[in-house]
């Protein structure tokens, strides 16, 4: 469970105190009953220090788990009442809009947007004044009455010194996240747990912070409560949409981990050391990505990147084609690292059509040409050592077939090494070639994940049989493993597969993981 996930020997306190906020540093760590699988010795574990901040699943939620646990019963009662009220409120809202002179088309859109056919989560962001800020579907204007009702629900419960967490009704979950000065709401039919939905909302919240920083966000609303935040967020719709898409398809966001690009050890070494050499005074992180996969990450001494921040950065780089045409230079806040300030990111693709993207994060807003120079030096060094071509070739096979492992009936797996914060996963085999099937598998993994990391009743392992596949999930202090077998597999086979798979990953860890965490 969450509390297992702490590192050995990682320095949390940074000499440079103003860079990293200190409050959410974990300090407890539990003993593992299986010594061979203790964190730090599992396959894929980093050899020296971890490059990422160690994270827990649902770490944002675990902080107030006690609070929610004790209040749960109380809140549920309140929720029952709310449901009815919401239905009434929603109906009333529709009527109002329909009566308006301008909103002839709007009511339909509103109803359609709230009660959607599509099996995707609907996400709303509103201000404390009930003003719409973001909606995943439909337009904010058309949904302003709905959002008004949402805000009414939140403040009604708050008036009784309580917090509304979620509403469960008729296969529908409405989950609320209160992050002053914002309120985030997710409406889901997919049967995901509340924790999964909170995680999504947290990501949307961090996305907004990464564009504005927390002080700016607070200041704007302090000055004027009814401020229309859409003005400041305009142009970020694609970024947020991309992020929500990733949340549904990318296991890394679920696991709080990053997948690295499979690359032979020597090439990775050259890439890492070349990137390390191309440093500059104010550089904090150098990140080389191949699509959504990490190729190399170099960081300033004592500074650790958080997965959330990395996912936000890689989503940002992927969501505008302008980075492919020139060199991008943009202020960006890494909310998990420090929500109160901007870093400045130099984002560029190596070739317009290539997936290789270099992100250089600096503290100095005037650093553009220095970083541009760093990129050139890195590229020259790579070419001189003949690694550029190898790297480009590795991009052609960014993944591997599961057959390489040699376990019969095994269709797919996800293995996360907790101490390195990296995970590996083979390509999706035949049954999962359509997008719907991929999402279905992802939903299954999410279900297993939320069972393993249940806030009050966590599990160590879970085996689940369905008509279409058999699944096994196992969490130790060292790793998390999710296996997907054909329906013909048995539990005994699945158990023996784990050992075999771990051995295989150990053998291949050089290629599948980034074992050295380099600093400048």
């Amino acid at each position: 469970m969450a509390s297992d996930v702490h590192s050995k020997g990682v320095t949390w306190d940074t000499s440079n105190g103003n860079l990293t906020p200190v409050e959410h540093l974990p300090n407890s760590r539990s003993e593992s009953p299986t010594p061979g699988l203790v964190e730090g010795t599992e396959p894929g574990a980093g050899q020296e220090r971890a490059m990422f901040v160690h994270t827990q699943s649902f770490e944002d939620l675990t902080a107030d788990v006690e609070l929610t646990g004790s209040r749960l019963s109380e809140i549920e009662e309140v929720e029952e009442e709310k449901e009815e009220e919401q239905q009434q409120g929603g109906g009333g809202g529709t009527g109002e809009t329909g009566g308006g002179a301008e909103g002839v088309e709007e009511p339909k859109q509103e109803v359609h947007a709230v009660v959607r056919e599509k099996e995707e989560d609907h996400v709303f962001v509103l201000s404390e004044a009930g003003k719409p800020i973001y909606t995943r579907y439909g337009s904010e204007e058309a949904l302003s009455t709905t959002m008004g009702v949402m805000m009414a629900l939140v403040s009604f419960v708050e008036a009784n010194k309580n917090v509304i967490l979620s509403i469960h009704a008729d296969g529908l979950r409405v989950v609320f996240l209160r992050k002053s000065p914002l309120v985030l709401v997710c409406v889901s039919r997919t049967g995901q747990s509340d924790s999964e939905l909170w995680r999504e909302l947290h990501y949307v919240y961090y996305q907004i912070l990464s564009l504005l920083t927390l002080p700016q966000l607070q200041r704007v609303f302090q000055q004027r409560q009814s401020y229309d935040l859409r003005r400041l967020l305009s142009g970020s719709e694609r970024v947020t949409a991309g992020l929500l898409r990733l949340l549904e398809t990318d296991a890394g966001l679920m696991l709080n981990a990053t997948m690295s690009l499979p690359l032979c050890g020597t090439t990775r070494n050259i890439v890492c050391t070349s990137l390390q050499a191309a440093s500059s005074k104010n550089l904090v992180f150098s990140i080389l990505l191949a699509g959504d996969r990490l190729v190399a990450l170099i960081r300033k001494k004592e500074q650790h990147l958080h997965h959330t921040d990395l996912h936000l950065l890689s989503n940002l780089a992927a969501s505008s084609s302008s980075f492919r045409q020139g060199e991008g230079w943009t202020p960006v806040c890494l909310p998990k690292f420090n929500a109160s300030g901007f870093f400045h990111a130099h984002i560029s693709y190596f070739e317009p059509a290539s997936d290789l993207c270099l992100i250089l994060v600096s503290t100095d807003r005037e650093d553009f040409f220095n970083l541009s120079d760093c990129k050139q030096r890195f590229l020259e060094r790579l070419k001189k050592r003949n690694a550029y071509q190898t790297l480009k070739e590795a991009l052609h096979s960014p993944t591997y077939p599961v057959s390489q492992v040699g376990i019969p009936e095994l269709w797919h797996f996800i293995y996360k090494s907790k101490s390195s914060g990296l995970y590996t996963s083979p390509e999706l085999p035949v049954p999962y070639h359509t997008e719907e099937e991929q999402e279905r598998l992802m939903d299954l993994y999410q279900y297993l994940h939320s069972r393993l990391h249940h806030l009050t009743r966590p599990l160590r392992s879970i085996y689940r049989c369905t008509n279409t596949e058999n699944l096994l999930a196992w969490s130790t202090s060292g790793f998390e493993l999710y296996l997907c077998f054909s329906p013909l597999a048995t539990k005994a086979l699945a158990m023996s597969a784990v050992t075999k798979l771990l051995k295989w990953i150990r053998k291949e860890e050089d290629r599948l993981f980034i074992l050295n965490s380099l600093t400048y």
Partner: protein, 249 residues
């Protein structure tokens, strides 16, 4: 193209450490998560790499007027059809252009139009020799926004030449009623502020090369004029001119 020596770092430090620069800098800094607030290298420092910039050109204007498309047309000679994509922050691209018998490298900063970046837009236009302020010929509000940028430039960058550019000319050529910004109104405004005026279409490429050629020509003609009166006024420009002259003698 001639190869230029890289200016010694001593000179560069001297340039940006002066008082005026520092004051400007402190004004700009709000949430820097670092104690290191001074820039020791000039932002337009010519690097050892292929890129060496003579003139900084900045694209300004309301979002979705077509700044990126304009740069895309000029630099890559293409017009991308597809869903609109916002620029994030700013994108930099360098492009060389022949003016007479000289080669001028324009460093073009394509900025994002979103209001979010307004507070930091100054880092993008500081020291710019030319600003291409774009507005959409079919959107009157974008012209109001262009007026804002002109005022901003006149206040903070008095040496920056302004080029007003009406975009999406192809839309108004096909349908006169689509035009929301009158040509003569803009012409009057342009004469009043002493700027240049272009109407372009990135889709057809109409007038795009002419616009950037004019920018480069004006820079080339003014590069020498600037030198004597530049002392201590705008250090960005002084340094460029210095390298420029010493290499051409």
């Amino acid at each position: 193209m001639m190869s230029y020596p890289v200016a010694p770092p001593v000179l560069l430090c001297g340039v940006s450490k002066t008082k005026s620069q520092t004051i400007l800098f402190n004004l700009l800094i709000e949430h820097q998560p670092t104690e290191d607030k001074f820039c020791f290298f000039h932002p337009e420092r010519p690097t050892m790499t292929a890129m060496r910039v003579d003139a900084k050109v900045v694209m300004l204007g309301k979002e979705s007027v077509g700044k990126t498309s304009l740069v895309e047309r000029y630099v890559h000679h293409r017009f991308l059809v597809g869903p609109y994509q916002n620029t994030i922050g700013a994108a930099f691209v360098a492009k060389s252009i022949n003016v007479g018998n000289k080669v001028i490298t324009l460093g073009i900063w394509d900025t994002a139009g979103s209001e979010r970046y307004e507070a930091m837009s100054r880092i993008y236009y500081r020291g710019a020799r030319a600003a291409i302020v774009c507005y959409d010929l079919t959107d009157n509000s974008s012209f109001q926004r262009a007026r804002f940028w002109v005022k901003e430039l006149q206040t903070f960058e008095e040496h920056c030449k302004i080029y007003l550019c009406g975009t999406k000319n192809d839309l108004v050529e096909g349908d006169r009623s689509a035009r929301q910004v009158d040509y003569h109104d803009v012409q009057d405004f342009v004469e009043e502020i002493g700027a240049q005026h272009f109407e372009t279409s990135s889709k057809t490429g109409n007038n795009v090369d002419a616009l950037f050629l004019k920018v480069a020509e004006d820079f080339s003609n003014s590069a020498f004029e600037f030198l004597p009166e530049e002392k201590g006024v705008n250090l960005d420009q002084k340094k460029n001119s210095y390298i420029y002259t010493c290499c051409h003698h």
